[in-house]
């Protein structure tokens, strides 16, 4: 049993920043992470970090771009917090030694990015995330913060009151990969979830194999609502064979998209008459797929991204990494030929519902980074807006968890008087109604002391691990995972249609049934990745279901969410967040209004054209 003031789960950019902030605010902090910190997927981010640093730019413009990019589904207080604090956080990174690309005068360079009205994306070559991650980890090393790496967090220790809003999180239970020990970590002040993305519900994704949405699933089952889960960003430029990302920086620097007929289709086919390639990601992704579907794709699968005209010097200076990626993973020399690209799952705008300090409705439980939904990105995230989210909200949550007073939040969390119930008509039963695991959440048990809550969770998780290890026949997680990925990719992709969404629910239900039979083939307690993946797969099932339920519920076309039947944005009815809560073993759907009122006034929804 370990005890700390603040426990940070996950050591990507968000977790590291949160840990540093909490420690600076005087808390005794530990990080628990299933990967060594430098292995986190933040390292894969390429393009950059948006910050209004320069003359002629200001946070209000950035906030405006963000809200517009979000198609007005973002909460203004969160978006404003992001844009106001991003500059100082970026400078902080620079002061911590991050190797930003530089202008001739020695200042940090900025470049244009999709959907931005000002070239405000700071970057470090095409490896921005790598530098950010390592710079932050270096600060954690400097501060001597305890890091439990290769410890997989199995569950949250949350008390079991009937209303999620009354519950408290007292810690987490984790599995030490190297030894198979299951241990409890008690958090006196708070638990911060920073578990990152969930791309593994799709098979063509830019996300890492470790991005299985564990945090979202754990919080969800502890009663915290998941917000806007249907809002999945598909990045328009990923390599067809692997899903490896070709940064938006390529288009930012002037890269051009061509179809099979050599047309610059973003302009020539009128997808974005003004911004062309630099339109928002959802717009470009749909344009590419439309080209492919209308027969103008190359090999009917992808389009070409050409950067040859930028010249070798500029490419080597700013996009060198892209050359390596195209070469190693697609066998294409970006200096000599155009690169094949197609859309792939990239980012989850939705996630664990939090306010602008990262707090969830469960006392003592925070979420930051990609697993959280503050909500900054609404229905579509702008490129370069996720990394600032990590550092801005990481810092806020860290300080808040360490009991610093940051004022009252303006983004409401949990069910309030403004919430509105919702429903979909699923073709099958959703959730796990058979789960006998406790009436309300499977996080904790009705117990009053923190110790008892933690102790119960520990027991329960030990049993779960043992149960999984004991069985020696049934289904293997890899089959279930593959089935989920297949159905999500086929049915809940860029273009969404009611019948297909329902089909996905049927498949997910079938997968859940099979999961009841799952077994772990590897009997070892040393580095048992089979066991860990089996547990992750359980999380993927919940995530897939949340995404699909949200997609089925939202009957409009907004941002990344496109519905065949509903070809327009419907502000009168749908200017609200879709919320899914785990209730009695099945998802409960409800809505909460979007907060458009910010410091800079109200963000009036306008038509989103680029």
């Amino acid at each position: 049993m370990y005890e700390y003031d603040v426990i940070v789960v996950g050591a990507g950019g968000a977790g590291l920043r949160a840990a540093i902030a909490a420690q600076e605010a005087g808390a005794d902090v530990a990080m628990v992470t299933k990967l060594h910190p430098v292995r986190s997927h933040t390292g894969a981010a390429e393009g950059g970090i948006n910050a209004a640093l320069r003359e002629g730019d200001d946070w209000e413009l950035h906030a405006y771009d963000t809200m517009k990019g979000a198609d007005y589904l973002a909460d203004a207080p969160a978006a404003e917090a992001l844009t106001q604090e991003s500059p100082e956080e970026v400078i902080q990174l620079e002061h911590w030694g991050m190797a930003f690309s530089r202008d001739d005068d020695g200042r940090v360079s900025q470049r244009p990015f999709g959907g931005l009205s000002f070239p405000r994306t700071t970057y470090a070559g095409a490896e921005t995330g790598h530098h950010l991650l390592h710079t932050l980890y270096e600060q954690v090393v400097k501060r001597g913060i305890d890091v439990f790496d290769e410890w997989y967090v199995l569950n949250l220790a949350v008390s079991d009151e009937s209303q999620p809003d009354d519950r408290t999180c007292h810690g987490v239970v984790a599995y030490e990969t190297a030894t198979g020990n299951v241990e409890a970590f008690t958090a006196r002040d708070g638990v911060i979830l920073a578990t990152g993305g969930l791309g593994q519900v799709y098979d063509h994704t830019t996300n890492a194999v470790a991005n299985t949405g564990d945090g979202v699933a754990m919080a969800y089952r502890a009663g915290v609502p998941a917000e806007d889960m249907e809002m999945i960003q598909f990045h328009p430029t990923t390599l067809p064979s692997t899903g490896v990302l070709i940064s938006e920086g390529v288009r930012g620097e002037g890269g051009i998209l061509y179809n099979d007929e050599g047309e610059r289709f973003m302009f020539e086919h009128g997808y974005a008459k003004n911004d062309g390639e630099l339109a928002s990601r959802d717009v470009v992704s749909r344009a590419e797929l439309t080209e492919v579907n209308e027969g103008r794709g190359i090999e009917d699968e992808y389009v070409h991204l050409d950067m040859r005209h930028l010249g070798e010097e500029r490419i080597l200076d700013r996009l060198e990494n892209i050359l390596h990626l195209a070469e190693d993973f697609e066998g294409v020399d970006g200096l000599e030929e155009p690169m094949p690209v197609k859309p792939g799952q990239h980012y989850a705008m939705g996630g664990i519902e939090t306010d602008e300090f990262g707090q969830t409705c469960v006392e003592g439980l925070y979420a930051v980074g990609e697993c959280a939904c503050a909500s900054v990105h609404g229905s579509n995230r702008l490129g370069g807006n996720a990394l600032p989210e990590l550092i801005v909200f990481g810092k806020r949550a860290g300080r808040h968890a360490a009991d610093e007073d940051l004022g009252a939040p303006r983004v409401p969390v949990g069910q309030t008087g403004d919430s509105e119930p919702g429903s979909v008509e699923p073709p099958v039963e959703l959730g796990e109604p058979w789960a006998a695991e406790g009436a309300v959440a499977d996080g904790g048990a009705a117990a009053d002391t923190a110790e008892a809550v933690v102790e119960r969770t520990l027991e329960r998780e030990r049993e779960r691990v043992e149960r999984l290890l004991e069985r020696d026949e049934g289904t293997q997680h890899s089959d279930i995972r593959a089935a989920v990925q297949r159905t999500m990719t086929e049915n809940v992709n860029v273009f969404r249609e009611e019948g297909a969404l329902k089909e996905a629910l049927v498949d997910i239900h079938a997968a859940r049934q099979r999961y009841r039979d799952v077994y772990v083939a590897d009997p070892s307690s040393t580095y048992n990745t089979d066991l860990i993946q089996t547990i992750e797969t359980r999380n993927l099932l919940d995530i897939a279901e949340m995404i699909t339920v949200g997609a089925l519920a939202r009957e409009e076309f907004r941002g990344a969410h496109w519905r065949k039947q509903y070809q327009e944005r419907r502000d009168d009815e749908w200017l609200k967040h879709t919320m899914v809560s785990w209730s009695d073993g099945s998802p409960e759907l409800w809505y909460k209004p979007v907060v458009l009122e910010g410091e800079a006034g109200a963000y009036e929804p306008k038509e989103r054209s680029y």
Binding site: A178, T179, T526
Partner: protein, 142 residues
């Protein structure tokens, strides 16, 4: 860690087939270096003992009949000694050439062609040694 498996050093050198140029250069340089120190010690030992037995008699010395000269001559007339000397030459030449390569590397010169310069050292060593064989074996009585 419950337990872990240490494959030990044997396995490393069991992998010699997979060594790269730089590693071979390192191994050869080590070997030749050791041989050279070894030789330095023996060399001084042999010379000094031979000298002890050299008589101080100027006449014998003048006639090159002193013990020292005779010891050296006897030694030099043995084929083994000659062959060993060729070996020594090889060792010394390689050590010099590769040593020069290392000095350049230390100065940051030719880092990209370090493997080629190693092969060059080898080939040159071979060439010099082969070319010197006649001289080295000259006048040996079998």
């Amino acid at each position: 860690m419950s337990q872990s498996y240490d494959r030990g050093l044997i396995e490393d050198f069991g992998r010699w087939r997979e060594f790269s140029a730089g590693m071979w250069a390192w191994i050869f340089h080590k070997f030749t270096g050791w041989v050279l120190v070894g030789y330095l010690f023996t060399h001084v030992a042999v010379l000094s003992t031979a000298l002890t037995s050299a008589s101080a008699d100027p006449a014998t010395v003048a006639a090159n009949q002193d013990l020292y000269t005779q010891t050296i001559r006897t030694l030099e007339s043995l084929l083994v000694v000659r062959v060993l000397e060729v070996g020594l030459l090889a060792v010394a030449v390689f050590h010099i050439l590769n040593g020069t390569r290392l000095l350049l590397v230390d100065l940051g010169i030719g880092l990209e062609s370090q493997d080629r310069s190693f092969y060059a050292s080898l080939i040159l060593t071979g060439a010099i040694v082969v070319a010197s064989v006649p001289t080295f074996l000259a006048g040996v009585s079998l």
